[in-house]
Structure formats: C-alpha cells, structure tokens
C-alpha cells in the first residue's frame, strides 16, 4: 500500500465517497481542471464530471449559499474555501442557515454539508493566506468544527464529516499538507467525530492541541522525554462538540495542562478548554493551566511568521513553568 500525505488523504477520502455516494458533490474555486490550488481535488473532475466537481464563480457567499440549498434538497456538497482567510463571506450562510436549518424547521430540512478550507500559517504564503480563525465557528451551535492532523485522521475524519447528517467545518492545516506520509488504506473507514485522540501517553503534563501544532507538541514531548519528563499529547481533532471527558481524564491524571494553538490567545478555543478545566477539574490541577498560542496580533507576513507561531521552545518553556509549581 502506498504512503500518502495529508493532502492526498483528503483527495482519497473525497474520491472514495464520491464513488460510493452519488449525492456527494465538490464545489469551489479552481477545484475542477486545476484540482484546487493545493491539489486537494486533483483528478476528481476527470473522474466524476464537471457538475459533480464544479468550478464556481468567484464568490464565497455564492458557494456557501448554493451549498446550503443543494444540501437541503438532498445532496451532500463538499464546498471549498480556497483559504480560511476567504471564508468570511460564507459566515452568514453558515451561521444563519447551515447551522440552524434543522433547528429552524424542526428537522424538516437539514444541511449535510462539509465546508473545507486550508488553514493556518507557516508556509510563507502571501497576505491573508495564513489565517487560523476556527474560533469563528466554535460558538455557533449546530456546527461541528473538525481539524485533522495526520493523513490517516484526515481520511477518516473527512469521510465522517461527509457522512454526518449535519454541517461540518473541516479545516486542513496546510503547513502539514505534505509534511510526511503514512499508510492510509482506502477502505472507507470513517473515524468518530466525537472524540479527542490521545496520541501519546504521559504522566507529568498534558499537552492539548489541534491542527499543525500537533506536530510541535509531539516534538516537544520527545524533547521533554529526554529530560525525563513524560508528556501526554492530545489531538482535540473535533473542537465542537467537544469531547471534554478525554481531556479531563488526562489532566486529572497529570495535574498539569498546556494548551497549544495557533490562533490568537484571547478568546481562542484554548480558552474554552482552560475554562472547562477550571470549572470541572479545579481540584486536580497542580498548577495553573498554560496557553501557548499566537499572539493577540494579526499573524505577520511570512518574514516574521515563525516568531508568531507556537514553537517547541515556547511549548517547552510553558511545560517547565507548570512543572516548576509544586
């Protein structure tokens, strides 16, 4: 079996599901002949035709609204925003309709759609191409917000997202699109959308993260291990609805938690996890929860972006800070 990258896993999941379910369609800007600017939809139009892999006019509002309309009439659209920085024009359709049509109509009409977008910084991209704005969607009821961080999880979670009867925001950390390969059997097996994944067991501290920062956290855990510190690493994967139990269990065990994300700190999704810990695990906490995040500024253009993104050094420093408390 071939080893594939995260982006190839996305393509593989799309192809699998389009093959097995006629109601699945892909739409967005440049998704057709070009196969998407990152090649996520490479080869799909050739296989499934111009209508099921539809190049749209350049208007994200249109893409989102048409997606809602199709979904409500029985299709399973997978819409692409070319970059997460261009998802804003989709907000009205997502918040007012996709996320609530089921609720508004007492279940009469539903929106089984996926909104995909390449997410985050670290690839030396131009202005507005490096946003990490998942927070926009995490306070909207009726949405699932999902972020894969490995080829296998990209495949399994995307399949689950497409099959889910409700709308799913699916954010792909573009920084690790091609970072490494792994074997991902094309067996159509979905992964659950209601669990966090414990990627590494540990006893001294829990690192909670998602997306591109999973890699940084695993590397930090490696480095810490050399110092004799045992870090548990959790990939949240599905931010909302959140599987807090898995996190709580881990932090109850380790007593210490460092939350790592790329978005700005204030009101980033890390706040929710820290808040839950303060509410439900207060007595298990041996030290204040730490957040290692982007700063409360716009991500700088690429000449300085690495200074903005959480690094192994910054995560490590936070871990040491929490361990210093006894």
């Amino acid at each position: 079996m071939a080893q594939i990258t995260l982006i190839e896993a996305v393509t593989q999941a799309l192809a699998y599901e389009m093959q097995h379910d006629q109601s699945v369609v892909v739409l967005g800007e440049d998704v057709g002949v070009n196969g998407g600017v990152f090649r996520a939809t490479q080869g799909l139009q050739k296989k499934f035709g111009e209508l099921r892999v539809l190049d749209t006019p350049l208007d994200e509002t249109t893409i989102a609204g048409v997606t809602v309309g199709m979904a409500a009439q029985g299709m399973k659209p997978v819409a692409e925003a070319q970059f997460e920085g261009f998802i804003y024009p989709m907000m009205e359709q997502i918040a007012c309709h996709a996320a609530r049509l089921r609720n508004r109509t007492r279940g009469r009409l539903t929106v089984p759609a996926v909104f995909r977008a390449p997410w985050g910084g670290g690839i030396r991209a131009p202005e507005h191409h490096s946003e990490a704005n998942e927070h926009l969607f995490t306070n909207i009821p009726g949405l699932r917000v999902v972020m894969p961080s490995s080829p296998a999880r990209a495949y399994g979670l995307l399949l689950a997202a497409i099959r889910d009867p409700d709308p799913v925001m699916f954010f792909e950390p573009k920084r690790i699109y091609r970072q490494y390969k792994e074997e991902v059997p094309d067996d159509g097996e979905a992964l659950p959308l209601d669990v966090c994944f414990v990627l590494r067991d540990g006893t001294d501290v829990t690192l909670v993260t998602w997306g591109a920062q999973v890699k940084e956290c695993l590397e930090t855990a490696d480095a810490l291990a050399e110092e004799g510190i045992s870090a548990e690493v959790i990939d949240v994967a599905t931010l909302t609805p959140l599987d807090f139990d898995t996190i709580a269990e881990s932090v109850s065990k380790t007593g210490r938690c460092v939350i790592v994300h790329e978005a700005p700190k204030t009101a980033g999704f890390g706040a929710e996890i820290a808040a839950r810990l303060a509410e439900e695990c207060l007595y298990d906490l041996l030290a204040p929860v730490q957040r290692v995040t982007g700063y409360d500024t716009h991500i700088p253009l690429f000449r300085q972006e690495m200074k903005y993104l959480p690094s192994v050094e910054r995560i490590s420093a936070a871990v040491h800070k929490t361990l210093a408390v006894s």
Partner: protein, 359 residues
Amino acid sequence: MSIAATFEIQYLQYLDPEGKQVRDDLPAFAEDTEHMVELYKLMVSTRVFDAKSVALQRTGKLGTYASCLGHEAAHVGIGSAMAAEDVLAPSYREYGAQLYRGVQPREVYTYWGGDERGNDYQNEPARHDFPWSVPIATQCLHAAGSALAFKIREEKRVAVCTIGDGGSSKGDFYGAINIAGAQKLPLVAVIVNNQWAISVPRHIQTGAETLAQKGIAAGIPTIQVDGNDIIAVRKAMGDALERARNGEGPSVIEAVTYRLGDHTTADDARRYRGEDEVKDAWTKDPVVRLRAWLEAKGVWNEEKEEAWKAECDEWMDNEVNAYLENKAQPTSAIFDYTFAEMPEDLARQREQAIELDRQ
C-alpha cells in the same frame, strides 16, 4: 464606435388598474375563466388571512407580523404558476404563493407567534419548500443550489426565489442569478418590487431605471411586469418556468407592485411616506382589478364575493383556533433539533434545563 451588445427590457401588462384588458393575446390559462376565478378566490382568501394576522397581532396574540397587503397578484401569480415538484424559496411575506402550495394559515401564525413549528410545513408540496428567510436575499442562493441539485440529478424541476426591491441590492441576489446564468440553472428569480424596503424608497436602493435590468448583469432573460396584474405575473412566470424546465436556463422577473401596509406590525409607515402615494397605490389594487375583469366577464358578482369571504372567514377562524390551542413546546425542544445526534455535553445541558423547569 462599435457596439458590443444591446439589450431591451420589456414590460408586460394585460389588465389596467380598472380591470380593462389592454391586450388581445390572452395566455391560454387566462382564457379559462374557471381557473381565473380560482386564482381570484385565493387572492381574496390571502387578503382575509392577512387581515386576520394583523388583527391577531394587534390583540397581542401574535408577535411582529409582516403583512402581504397589496402583493396578492404577485404572490398568487408566482405560486400558481409553479408545478408541485418545483421548489419555492421565499422571503417572509409571500403567503399568497405559499397557501397555494399547502402552507396552512396556522403555520404562519405559529411562526410569527414565536414557535419554530411554524417552519415545519406539513403539507406537500410546501413540505419540500424552504421556510421563510429573514436574512435578506440568502434564500436566492438556496434556490440556486436547489436548481443545481436538479440539474445534477437530471430532474425536470425548477427552483423559484422571491426577493424584494431592497433585497435585490444584496450581493447574494447577484450571486444567485450570476451562477444560475453561468451554469444555465433552472432558476426563476422574482423581484417583488413593492417600492419600499422598510423606510427606504426604491430610488435610494439603486440608480437603475428598472430592477429587471439586473438580470442583464447575469446575461439572462429578464422582464418587467405589472405586479398587480396576475395575468401578467402568471404569464411571465409560466414562460420562465417552461424555459427553465426545458434546460434553457434561468430568468429574472420584476413584478412592480406596492406595499399597501406597514413593513411589519412593528413599523409605522406614516413616519416616512406620504398619504397621497398610498392613496394612489390603492387605485391599482390587484384584487379590485381582477374582480372587475371577472365581473365584466360575468363569472363573478357581489353575491359570490360575500359567500367566498364568509367561507374564508370561517377557514381563518378555524385556523386561528387551531393555532391558539397549540401548547408551547417542551423545554427539551430547545435542544432536540440542534444535531441529528445529541452530543453528550448538550444532553447534560438539556437535563439541567428540564430540571430547572421542574422547580
């Protein structure tokens, strides 16, 4: 200078404000006087229904309500031209079209009475239609998306959206007709131009002479019709639906009418528009006009009018009673339609809320 393209916006009218027929080439459906009487009856029942809604609101039995007074020809014209399998994506006052498609007055009351069940239309074909869309113009894209679904599935169905003069300023409207034009989707977008968007008059919305010409931007057939003349509305709809059903793509229709009432019951139109204008608009009343035409044809009269109005009153009283008897939803209903499958956290919140209620 050479000419790259030329365009023409046609204006369609069969009945003038007095109900006099101004053209000889009546469409086939209009030759069928029995059918025209049916349409007239629905226009009347829509008006009776509407008055009842306003009355309910005035007596505290309904929340804010958006009246359709004056739009009866446009709305019934739209609804009656559509086939059952077509899909309607309305804004929030197209009751005349919706009643035709099976929405029940009690559902309208339930909705404006602050209860989500009003959006859960029980009868086909409305059951597969979109619910009222309050966020302006968003419904146009739902219709475009539906049309795309029909095209992909090779179904001979058409999606219809309605939008106000004000709403036609919003980017979504443009996006919807644009993708429909590019992909030749079976979409009919009807601009119900009632001259006002709450307090904002038509001329502040746009410098365009007609709203119909917005269709030119999308490269699609477009026409302006007298929106108080149901024959004109219905004819333009019929033509557009037929083209769409035959794979010939989308159309725009501007139906010129007038909002005879306040924007909603929360609005007081006297703040921003003169009485003369409204008085003048009443002389173009779509209901009076069709009645005059039908009476001239000898197929309608005062007696029938009274009988039908009485029937409508009874119908609406019945609907009102059904509405008023409807108990509020249980607390659990706040939670139960958020996801197909209830997430654990939410289930806990649900239990708490139910518990709180018990206390």
